[in-house]
Amino acid sequence: MKNRLKSFSAMLSSVILTLFGLTVLTFLIGRVMPVDPVIAAVGDNAPEDVILRVRAEMGLDQPIPVQFLHYLSQLLHGDFGMSVLTKNPVATDIARFFPATFELATAALLLATLVGIPLGVWAAVRQGSFTDQAIRVLCLAGHSVPVFMLSMISLLIFYSALGIAPGPGRQDIIYDGMIPTVTGLMSVDTLLAGDLDAFRDALAHMAQPVIILAYFSMAYIARMTRAFMIDALKGEYVITARAKGLSGLKVVWSHAFPTVAVQLITVLALTYAGLLEGAVVTETVFSWPGIGQYLTTSLMNADMNPVIGSTLLVGLIYVGLNLLADILYRLLDPRVQ
């Protein structure tokens, strides 16, 4: 019990230290970058007296350590500051943009996992065969073709040429302002509103970006699964199971896969974190108002409060998912226990 408490407090300190480091780094980058945030707020043509006044209002006339302490005290009170661009508190903006990314990332991860793991296992079982080579090429393409190119090709074929997929955006224009925001997840909110047509429309709009992101992630998951599985299939316990006369399927899924599954937890956690970080390019091409687009728009406009807020969120996601992976590892792998 004492050991567990010690381990938990070490973990917690590491999380706090990581987030603090991230805050310091992002804050400093924001302050030393060669772009004047005041110009972003008032425009390049604003007169000098307005620039000076706004600089003081934003606290940018103070020394950097004072600015940092002020920002830190705000953060500890749960205040991420205001966005110059949207005129909203950053927390409100994140609550609006993050669900769009969460919806995309979760659906993409589910699809990537459902396809990637069986493909990886299949390739490992048929190692060296035509099937293995075909899966390898498929994965290589998924990982090496730029996402923006896949997105544009997808739009050109399925939206423009064939006309079987809807265009960019989260919903058709006829639903604009019709669906009350409850969770921020369009698929859920349309269901809560009881509008099945809008629900189907939301799913249709999700399909292309989800499939593209899933393909990209699937390639990684399948490659890792294959590598883990090839190792697992060499294990003595697998040879023993085969010697006992168990069927191939049973050997693979009941004996070899459980050890692979433990290793895959980290792979899935990191893949999910990467997706939640915001697939900027996919969000841009598909006009998906997610956290990736929010972060880049803010960065391009030197709107630093949203940049720091979003970076902290991404950091928190990474730390949180790593923590979850650690915990699951401990629960599922008896050797760690």
Binding site: L85, T86, M152, L155, P166, G169, I174, D176, S287
Partner: protein
Amino acid sequence: MVSRRNFLIGGAALPFLSYLELADTAFAATPKDILVVAQQLDNMTSLDPHEGFEAVGGEMISNMYQKLVRANNDNPDQVVPVVAASWEADAESKVFTFKLADQTFSSGAAVTAEDVAFSLQRAIKMNKSPAFIINQFGFTADNVEARIVAKDAKTVTLTTEKPTSISFLLFCLSANIGAIVEKKVVMANAVNNDLGNAWLQKNSAGSGAFMLQAWKASESISLQLNPHGPYKGNLKRVIVRHVVDPSSQLLMLQKGDVDIARDLTSEQLRAAQNDKDITLIQKQIASLVLISLNQSNPNLAKPQVWKAVKWALDYEGMQKNIIPLSHVVHQSMEPSGFPGTVKDLPYKRDVEKAKALMAEAGLKDGFEITLDHYAAQPYPDLAQAIQANLGEIGIRVKLQSAENRQVLTKMRGRQHEMALSAWGTDYFDPNSNAEVFCINKDNSENAKNKPFAWRSSFKDDALAAKAEAARDEKDPAKRIALYEALQRDFMENSPFAVMFQTTKTAACRVGVEGFRLGVLSEGNTYLETKKA
């Protein structure tokens, strides 16, 4: 009996088939009474007309608010009466009296002189970025209530500090800072003495063609028809969707998911030109591409070098080969479409003349220099062409590419040597550019005003005096003549090589009619837009 293989194939095909069905229901043409526009909305910060000072926000504001007068896109020498029915100046040209026309706010209330006085006073008291456009007439927070007065329900007077050209005053009042807001609604939503600023950033209280329904930052803006406003067409709503990628904008336009695409680049415009379902509306806007030579560099401070640079550049070649659809060659400091703009193109590539000027400056062997430029296209391509052109006369240019704001920040700190950048005009009067390019009263580091000329350490008192004389001239015809002379003087004797003027294009689906682009973004209007 279904075989295992067929069952598996069927199972695999199921998601695809059901997706087809989903997609089928997802499509619907845009409704006839809703205009859908694809546009980049990412630099909009406020929809308060007395605060917003960016292009996209300015356009939205001008569709929701009216001003006493507006600029005339067809005849830039005149203004069009809107809330004002008529106006007159006293003999001294200090007191200006406006009689109001009958206009109605979106709430149904009539626009009164009290609303007009309140709105102009509010702009001065808030003193946000665009306030300088009207506080240059001597209005301050302390005196504005005495100087801008509602005399009766339909009469407003403005008293300027000094005798003022009425055309200058009217052009300034045509800017969005002169927008009329409904006093009662705005003050009902005021908090902490902010004159309703926080509320008006995301709401509207005007008498324009449309009113704000919703603004979801980085997502969309929905404008709803003002039932009491001046719009007479068949639209009930205008929905502007934030679509960042120009390629996506074109695809959506071609598929009919949007009616107008606003940010197509040359690449997409070439495709759109040949599409029979698309019509292109083009307008030269008040945005100039120019090279600034910082006068703190001894080589660049020589007037012969200014001229050598101007004679060395291949304006036509760059326009034809790099920016044929997005810019035109333009060499005056005033953009085409403005009152009194000179359209002369005195400079064309003449390497020998440029070399002779370099020799005259004592720089026969040339010199090395850094050119800062925006990283976004077409600036890198233009910078390379400039590098090649100047290389021929011995100026060895090192290119330094950076994000736009980074270049602007560097220029504001006077840290550049040469810079290739863009300049957008603030308001519809020749003084707007003349002031920033010609009048630099204090060239010290801690100057109170830091106009564009200051950024390149350019100070020419004679040029400044001419700009001030043109600004204050009361006879409109003489005023224009003075500005024409000033532009020619500036072309000849300034360290700024104005090269191009930007052309903006709106690509519309066939059937969309009446959308107008203005030389300033506040002239972009849906007022006459109809959809077949």
